[in-house]
């Protein structure tokens, strides 16, 4: 078994790069989150509907997705719904949670998945197969959040 050097104080360049790389991974995962969410009503009136992300980049919404969402909701609900919807990936790998402030998200998810869903503590819990189905329908109107419980 090779013995570690007794007089080696500094980290090797390889180790330093590795540590930086790992720290970079932690920074990268949530840079795509929006600085602020926008209401569906406002986005429908924009020529190029988009939000600005934490890293300064823009996240564009597809108009047909917005129109599909609008077709599911009445005017009041369109004012309430804020986009993009956040999907939190928690400590449990098998499930994801949709963070929702209002009941309107519950309605959308339930319609999109064609099954009843319940909101608990401001979150709707769904499993991976359902998540795939939801993402298929709402590619640009949903974004992933890596849980602060893991990242912090």
């Amino acid at each position: 078994m090779p013995k570690p050097l007794q007089d080696e104080v500094k980290q090797s360049p390889y180790e330093r790069v590795l540590q930086e790389c790992l720290r970079g991974e932690l920074r990268v995962v949530n840079t795509g989150l929006p600085q602020s969410q926008k209401r569906l009503m406002d986005l429908l009136n924009e020529e190029h509907p988009h939000v600005v992300c934490n890293d300064g980049s823009t996240h564009f919404f597809k108009k047909n997705e917005l129109e599909y969402l609008a077709s599911m909701l009445d005017t009041d609900e369109q004012r309430t719904l804020v986009l993009p919807m956040l999907i939190e990936l928690g400590a449990n790998q098998g499930e994801a949670a949709i963070i929702c402030a209002a009941e309107v998200e519950e309605k959308i998810v339930s319609k999109a998945l064609n099954m009843p869903v319940t909101r608990e503590e401001g979150m709707i819990r769904i499993y991976k197969p359902q998540l795939a189905l939801l993402r298929k329908k709402f590619k640009t109107t949903t974004v992933y959040v890596f849980s602060p419980k893991i990242v912090a």
Partner: protein
Amino acid sequence: MPELIKVRPTKIELVKLKRRLSLAQRVQKIVKDRLSILTMEFLQTAKDTVEAKRKLLDESSKLYKALSVAAGYHGYIAMEKELIASEADLKVIAGSRNMAGVRLPSFELIDNGKPMRGYNLVDTSSWLDRAAQLSEECLRAIVELAELQRNFELLAMEINRTKRITNALEYIVIPRLQATINYLKMKFEERDREEKARLKRVKVLVARG
């Protein structure tokens, strides 16, 4: 046996190594989550790409058939003359979206909102209308396929990169850190035992006078 990291065998180094291990384990958890999400999206994009490709091929074959019928009906020269007037600039909005840290392009073909296609409806037949309608659908399918194919490539590249990081963490970084921590722990225990033995010996010597 994993290789050991070159560190001084001190308690401070042990604490530092433990911190590094916890960071590496946290990163591994996130990277694994990210990899599973990327794989899920990649599979979905692959399915969509195949579907879009098939759709484009179908549309193209229908379009060529409709165009040949229209050309047969009007004649090439007359059809070209009519179609020159219908030329229009295409407007594609190119943006990007962020998906779990990957920037993916997003293209959208904009309708110019013109109800008429530009050619004379009196002098042309419904065959040409059909060909024009199919060509519009074909364009939409091309733009959709372009976006999907690029997403497919980018996701594949990101999956490769993430897999390398996961493997490095799982098979190199974490085992090395754990082995070094264990080595240091054993070293400290050995020192403690030596110290105890020395004290016992000194006690015996003192007792003898």
